[in-house]
């Protein structure tokens, strides 16, 4: 829609101006192609953006602008031009209503779409996350780093600690929201050195979970592809809600960021910090960010145990 209107207004501004009855004005000479250009911008935004609702609302704002312009034109015209203008104004009003409906709908869809875990948590259910990255180190090295489970908290933002309790068993603790902590035991249920590790929680975990990580040599002969699948069984009730909310903001983003930090640790030796995100792996502290200024001693001290 945007695309069609935009192309028409840009390609044939004279015709558009004549049909709509504003061909006598100098301003319209500039405004019509302008409006066309705006339509194209909207089309691009709608076609490419994941946040369609925002783009839909900018369309509504654009329509409001068009209506204002038409209103101004109407006030200054009579006769045939006025009749044509009235027709066009009616059409634009209809388009505006359509855009408004689309925007409202897009906003609704987005609300539902962006917090799937939270919705599911009311009844309970499972959430599967997948992510992958390529690390410029051999598979044996990446495997060895991961297999030492106590390394996981260095790059997984929500983990506080993983303690090995046996060859295949471990105890995990994660910072949950609102100051609560979630703890569980886990066991490795399958592994192939240099290739694969699979684990699952055992006993009465608050949030039963399992995961698999595969290490696949990349085509460049140097790097390793790391493929991760995590599954959380989100229970109902208060804990489930809290956990779901914790993961629910952008769970895929969190896992992607975790893998980016794993890559940093293996390739450069540590998690890279900037002045704007000084807490390194603690992703939840990165947003909202402080300005890119260094920390005071007090802030540094606070960060160490935050």
């Amino acid at each position: 829609m945007s695309l069609g209107l935009g192309v028409a207004q840009l390609a044939a501004p004279e015709t558009v101006r004549r049909i709509s009855g504003v061909d006598d004005s100098l301003t319209s000479r500039a405004v019509v192609p302008l409006v066309g250009a705006r339509e194209l911008v909207h089309a691009a935004g709608l076609l490419t953006s994941r946040r369609k609702s925002v783009w839909a609302w900018t369309r509504v704002a654009g329509d409001a602008m068009d209506l204002t312009a038409l209103g101004m034109a109407l006030a200054h015209r009579g006769g045939r031009r006025r009749r044509r203008l009235v027709g066009v104004t009616g059409a634009v009003v209809a388009i505006t209503v359509l855009d408004l409906l689309t925007a409202v709908q897009a906003t609704r869809t987005r609300e539902i779409g962006s917090v799937p875990a939270l919705r599911r948590s009311r009844k309970g259910g499972s959430m599967e996350l997948t992510a992958t990255t390529t690390i410029r180190k051999p598979a044996s090295e990446v495997y060895a780093f991961w297999r030492d489970l106590e390394n996981l908290p260095t790059f997984m933002a929500h983990l506080e600690q993983v303690r090995a309790t046996g060859d295949r068993t471990s105890h995990w603790s994660a910072g949950a929201p609102f100051g609560t902590n979630v703890e569980w035991d886990a066991e490795i249920i399958d592994e192939a050195p240099g290739e694969r590790i699979a684990w699952r929680s055992t006993g009465h975990a608050d949030v039963p979970n399992s995961g698999t990580v595969r290490f696949v040599p990349a085509p460049d002969g140097v790097s390793t592809e790391v493929h991760v699948v995590l599954v959380y069984d989100i229970p109902g009730g208060a804990v489930g809600k809290a956990v779901a909310k914790y993961f629910g903001e952008e769970p895929h983003q969190q896992l992607d960021d975790d893998l980016r930090r794993l890559k940093q640790v293996l390739e450069t030796g540590e998690v890279v910090r900037s002045d704007g995100a000084p807490w390194g792996k603690r992703a939840r502290k990165e947003f909202p960010q402080r300005p890119a200024q260094p920390l005071s001693d007090a802030e540094l001290a606070k960060g160490a145990d935050a």
């Binding site: 911008v41 992607d256 890279v272 002045d275 890119a292």
Partner: protein
């Protein structure tokens, strides 16, 4: 310390901020002796690059003396007391992009890669003083700066060249050079450069050094065109003549063999329509590319030629002349400069006298006058081409 900070759209402010600290093992702290205002700083100040915050320290072109190094810095590469020029992209030296010498696409140096990925599809390297999209690193228009991966990027200056001779190795000289290098220049080539600002001037110098037969400078500021003409290039004022027609005249109807866009997203245009159109795009908060220079370069370039883009673009662009690009077999090449790749060879060219970077400096002032400097630079007052700040 004193630092020039972003204080909102169209506003910078020199303030007192805390001194930088070592945050990673391979960090160094540099006491800055010279820094510069760059054209791309204006995109931040004018509000075209998102994710700037009040108080962010600006500046990505700087040099100085190493006064502290982290425990992970390789002492064979860098020590306290070294005099260094710091490249604007932060690069780890270990990832696949760095291994391919594509340092501005480093996969590890941007802690906010997630934001950059949403915007660009894949993340880009961290950059000093250049928004949180590129990492949220404090910049170098300050008395001191923290430099991550200090044993990868910074270039040691061991000769007695002045700050002014080597400072621009941090950004604009390699950027201009890369613009020309991407053109695969042959001895018969006519090269047209859109934009006779500092990067454009260095792209022209580089095109000549790389063997171009003729170099054409396109701009509207008479003093910039005069600067290019003094250096031996052919000026074209886009406010006085139709650029495409003039380029055809200058090239026997062929069009330039190679075209360099050294302008980027804030291109100006004589037409009132298009100026108004920009305002509307801003009003609806859509992306604000103004790709007039790029469009014109694509339309003007000879068939089978190369269009090399070193001007900065930020988001989405509309009305890209894909027909001309495809049907006339044009090659489009681009990238933020992989500065680390070019620093040493360009230092040698400076030492041999092949390029004189000081020719573009028109103003030198204390860091505390950065606000005035930005004003002069932005409004092209006082024939301003390039400003060096002294902390």
């Amino acid at each position: 310390m004193r630092a020039n900070t972003w204080a909102g759209r169209n506003k910078v402010e020199v303030r007192d901020v805390p001194d930088p600290k070592i945050l990673n093992k391979r960090d160094a702290i540099v006491r800055i002796t010279s820094t510069a205002i760059c054209g791309s700083d204006l995109h931040l100040v004018n509000g075209y690059v998102p994710t700037m915050q009040d108080g962010d320290v600006m500046g990505h072109e700087f040099m100085g003396e190493v006064i502290e190094v982290g425990p992970g810095v390789d002492p064979d590469r860098l020590r306290v007391g070294d005099r260094v020029v710091v490249p604007f992209p932060i690069a780890c030296g270990a990832c696949a992009a760095c291994a391919a010498e594509m340092y501005s696409c480093c996969e590890n140096s941007n802690p906010n890669a997630g934001i950059a990925e949403k915007m660009f599809g894949h993340p880009v390297a961290g950059i000093f003083g250049y928004s949180h999209l590129t990492g949220g690193f404090a910049g170098g228009q300050a008395q001191y700066a923290r430099v991550p991966f200090a044993d990868v990027g910074p270039l040691k200056i061991e000769s007695d060249l002045s700050d002014e001779q080597v400072l621009f190795l941090s950004d604009i000289l390699p950027t201009g050079y890369m613009g020309a290098e991407m053109c695969d220049i042959r001895p018969s080539d006519v090269v047209a450069v859109w934009g006779a600002g500092p990067v454009g001037q260095f792209a022209m110098d580089s095109a000549r050094v790389l063997g171009a037969a003729k170099v054409i400078a396109i701009d509207k500021e008479p003093y910039r065109l005069e600067m290019a003409e003094r250096a031996g290039y052919t000026p074209v004022n886009f406010e006085e003549v139709d650029v495409r027609s003039r380029l055809l005249e200058l090239t026997g109807g062929r069009g330039p063999d190679k075209c360099i866009d050294a302008v980027g997203l804030e291109a100006t245009h004589g037409s009132a329509h298009i100026a108004a159109y920009d305002r509307v795009k801003q009003a609806v908060r859509s992306e604000t590319e103004r790709p007039h220079a790029l469009r014109q370069a694509i339309m003007s370039c000879r068939s089978g030629g190369v269009v090399s883009v070193i001007g900065v673009y930020g988001g989405l662009m509309d009305k890209f002349p894909a027909g001309a690009w495809m049907n006339r077999a044009l090659t489009l090449r681009t990238g933020q400069c992989h500065v680390q790749r070019y620093m040493k060879p360009l230092l040698q060219r400076i030492e041999r006298g092949e390029i004189d970077p000081t020719r573009i400096i028109t103003h030198t002032m204390p860091l505390d006058e950065a606000e005035r400097g930005f004003d002069i630079f932005k409004n092209k007052q006082d024939n301003c081409e390039k400003i060096v700040l002294k902390p």
